[in-house]
Amino acid sequence: MAEPRVAVDTPLLSAEGIWAGYGREPVIEDVSIAIRPGEFVALVGPNGSGKSTLLHVLLGSMDASAGTVRLFGEAPDRFHARWRLGFVPQRPSLESEVPATVREIVSSGRLRQRGWWRRQSGADVAAIDHAIGSVGLAEVADLPLNELSVGQQQRAFIARAFASEPDLLVLDEPIAGVDRASQRRFRESLVHLQREHGAGVLLVSHELSAVADVIDRVIVLKRRVLFDGSPSELASSGVSLGIHEDDLPLWLEGLR
């Protein structure tokens, strides 16, 4: 067993008193959250609640007007071990119609870890194969993405994030419009990453039914953090994540 790369009590990601927005109007106000190793956190909120803005701030692609963000204990612009952070963007797609295989896409995810200027080693190939296998795409690894279903394409981008064996995985609406088989696969691979590697997971999603039973904590955002606690606590306030998969989106829309 390898030495833990982060002291157990250091959050993988933390934000304290974040204010951010576009122009004068703040989109998020005084938001504080933390994700610790091995924790599976779901971030939910109605459309326009500031989820994307918060994500941009957390990942360092947007500056907060107030507050502090720490990735693995460091400010985002000083955090250089970026491979420890796996990111699955919202509705990722290739920029153009040039064909690219699942393996080509997933290999991109390994670049930062090995140093992008270095040759691919046997260990890199093994990690890439493992990532592809863990999302169930081994049989189509050498097919171009544009010949696969939307769900399979989405899984390829998830495997790209897995390829660096991240300590923290951040996923932005990864299962919107994905078929059931892919959702099940998606759940299995997240659980695998979390349990086998002790990784933390931050999942931004409306559709939590596929992962309801493995979520440790739910954060409800609507400009501010409205709720931060376990799914059972959320359930006691009348919202169930697992049983009625339609409940959550409806409930969230009611928060508008």
């Binding site: 990942l59 360092g60 692609s61 250089h80 970026r82 491979w83 952070l85 990111f87 963007p89 990722p92 290739l94 920029e95 153009s96 119609e97 040039v98 064909p99 690219a100 295989t101 080509e104 896409i105 290999s107 991109s108 995810g109 670049l111 930062r112 992008w116 200027w117 691919q120 050498d142 097919l143 171009p144 010949e147 790209r160």
Partner: protein, 279 residues
């Protein structure tokens, strides 16, 4: 027929021209594949126009226009990339700005030098038969630099041009690679300037890629196939142009366009499996 062929090919400039055309045909689409993947298919055109301003200045101040074109093209391409990356200007609007300012500046410079007519045409439309051995060597050197540069950066370039937003979060050197790609693009445009011309170089960067992406089923194969299609189009185009006394550069681009037309028609009418097995 054989006598016609022999006399056409007896032109002492032709072997050099043929070699230069095939080299440009191979390396232009190699870099073009990454530009198409980045959705910057038209950047070659923009850079070509800016390079023309350099040609005009070279003629005006009596410096070898290749140097001034290279300076303008590299500066323009890098500036364009930085403007685009910082989202200061929309990609197509920035391109338009460079297109028009470049060509206008070139016209003003060249007219001032009194060379607007005959002197500028070879730069705009190419004149491979008049290439010196030194110019051929320069084309081949740029070709080798592009091949080595693309080969060694292929994986990270692919990652960055495929998904720029993700690559930034991952901490990949998006801006540095963008500038490197822009610089290589400028070098390729200028290298092909006297071969197929500034106005037709962009076509050689894009048309073979358009054909290859219809046939290949991976990015790697698309790049290889585009280089092969580009080189073959250049070979056939140069030969046909020389035989029938047509513009060599124009014929090469027409052949590349014809290849694309045939491939896309074949792909529509044939079952996909047959087209794929051919790739």
């Amino acid at each position: 027929m054989i006598a016609v062929l022999a006399s056409a090919l007896a032109d002492p400039g032709f072997p050099r021209a043929l070699l230069a055309c095939v080299a440009v045909g191979a390396f232009a689409p190699t870099i073009g594949a990454f530009l198409v993947q980045k959705r910057l298919s038209l950047i070659g055109d923009g850079v070509g126009h800016v390079a023309f301003a350099g040609v005009g200045l070279g003629l005006l101040v009596d410096v070898w226009p290749v140097w001034t074109a290279l300076a303008f093209a590299v500066t323009g391409a890098v500036a364009l990339e930085l403007l685009r990356a910082k989202r200061r200007v929309a990609g197509d609007l920035a391109l338009a700005l460079f297109f028009y300012a470049g060509i206008a500046l070139g016209v003003v410079f060249a007219a001032k030098a009194g060379d607007l007519d005959l002197e500028t045409l070879p730069y705009l439309f190419g004149d491979p038969l008049q290439m010196s051995t030194g110019a051929l060597a320069a084309v081949l050197v740029v070709g080798v630099i592009v091949a080595v540069g693309i080969w060694s950066l292929r994986r990270v370039l692919f990652a960055v041009v495929s998904d720029e937003g993700w690559a930034r979060v991952e901490g990949l050197p998006v801006d540095t690679l963008g500038v490197a790609l822009a610089g290589l693009t400028a070098a390729v445009i200028v290298a092909g300037m006297k071969v197929v011309g500034l106005l037709l170089m962009a076509a050689m960067m894009v048309l073979p890629v358009a054909s290859a992406q219809l046939l290949a089923r991976s990015f790697r194969k698309t790049v290889w196939l585009a280089a092969v299609i580009g080189a073959a189009s250049a070979f056939v185009g140069a030969l046909v142009g020389q035989l029938f006394s047509l513009s060599i550069s124009g014929t090469i681009v027409l052949v590349a366009a014809a290849v694309f037309a045939v491939v896309s028609l074949a792909r529509r009418s044939l079952p996909a499996a047959i087209v794929r097995s051919a790739a």
